[in-house]
Symmetry: C2
Subunit: 257 residues, 2 copies
DNA sequence: GTCTATATGTGGATAGAC
DNA sequence: GTCTATCCACATATAGAC
């Protein structure tokens, strides 16, 4: 152990730099040469420490997902223990699942917004080995939460729950990816949309907190939406002008001072 | 015009194959050699017809987005004319925006699910030139729909609307990307989740229709969710056990026969 | 418009000295 | 563990004959 010299520094510097560059330019768009130059280590170091570029990517994710998986399971265990057999509320489950993820963005030690963005962008990467790897890392946790949602919504068809879990994952992963066309079109960052006091460049910690604050109500609203078919998905002829839509209007308006 | 020989065939074959391969392996992961080999045209043909690989990608998108942009504007124009100055309903706007997009998946001539998947995957591509190009293509339409939502929800803060538009774009783009970890984890395609009668492999047309049917209620539910802050985003202490959550439960249950 | 041949660069990976 | 030097496959792009 004591004869490892700067070994630990080298490994971690490579991981940190790779995380940053994979996030900014993608896996295929980032060469080992750029990584090692930026990290100021030797080119051969990557293959010595990790074996290959693919293995490097896996390690970049593993060191972050280890915490995320553990914490998500812990949060769900805590909820289920606390409920003592009673079904959980959907909002609690979403908070445990998505809230835990978004906490990464608030803590540099867990990866911060850099890793969140990387995760969001990588979830739609077409590379085969990436998809199978991520699926494997996610499998256990996803299964647990899926079952929890089934129990929480016993009267909703399971297929419908899976669809909506799918949509929620999408809204979240796109949001944390931070590549939205809206941002480029409107020429503003998500941080600018946070509104309120903080002027100038918002730090990532605050951005993550606000993202969570905005995203969670949206996800809950989507999860609890009426099932398709009941109003034919889009009510072209609502029962009365003040029935189908206004329910929402009321929600939104009553919070405007 | 008549002296162009097989020119048209070559150009279109390259575009069709590039669309398919970019979807399956990404921009960086697809070489011009593979494209020209698959399309059974000469390697130099790409540079002759399009100028460069980047220009090829742009053309792949342009030929599909031309229809999408035109149709989205037309749909919004029609809604606004029909309303005669009155504000539109959010559901109408979403139907015009997302429904038009999803129609692509039902029509091979418009690109089909291949292009939809490509679009969803490319929206989170980290490459600089792709993001700026797509933003430019989307700019006009996004701006129009944003304004329409502002008018439709005059009492909702504009920043909040932009956030939710952002989330809706995410849910949709992730859904059409078809790279969800859920699918790999559960080992099933979205088509399997459609349930109902059709056994075996579902054709893309039916998949697109069902996706639309499931996605639209989710998006509406998210858009119309209570504003953050009103229940502190996650009600840890709801007023009564049968108040905050059950409203949803009722929605979902009353549709279960 | 199409093709062959090639220019020119960069990628990941490794062998072997230190 | 670190470094230099190098192998070799493959990338985009183009020049020039047909």
């Amino acid at each position: 152990m004591s004869d490892q010299k700067t070994n630990h520094d080298t490994r971690d510097r490579i991981l940190d730099v790779a995380e940053q560059l994979f996030m900014a330019h993608g896996y295929e768009g980032t060469s080992l040469r750029v990584i090692t130059n930026t990290a100021e280590v030797n080119l051969a170091a990557v293959n010595y420490h990790f074996g290959s570029k693919e293995a490097l990517l896996r390690e970049v994710f593993r060191r972050r997902l280890a915490w995320l998986n553990r914490e998500r399971l812990r949060a769900l265990d805590a909820l289920e223990s606390g409920a003592g057999g009673a079904p959980l509320k959907p909002s609690q489950i979403l908070e445990a699942f998505f809230g835990t993820l978004l906490r990464i963005g608030e803590d540099e030690a867990l990866g911060g917004m850099t890793f969140l963005r990387l995760l969001g962008r990588t979830l739609t990467d077409p590379a085969e080995f990436i998809r199978t790897f991520l699926a494997g890392e996610y499998a256990e946790v996803i299964e647990r939460y899926k079952q929890a949602l089934f129990s929480a919504l016993p009267d909703v068809p399971k297929a419908e729950i899976v669809w909506r879990l799918h949509f929620m994952l999408g809204a979240m992963s796109y949001a944390i990816a931070g590549t939205d066309v809206l941002q480029v079109v409107t020429g503003c960052e998500l941080s600018d949309l946070a509104g309120e006091e903080t002027a100038g460049a918002i730090d990532d910690t605050a951005l993550a907190r606000r993202l969570s604050q905005r995203l969670m109500p949206f996800l809950l609203g989507g999860l609890r939406a009426p099932l398709p078919g009941c109003l034919d998905s889009v009510p072209h002829v609502p029962p009365s002008e003040g029935d189908a839509e206004p329910q929402t209007q009321r929600h939104l308006q009553e919070k405007q001072p």
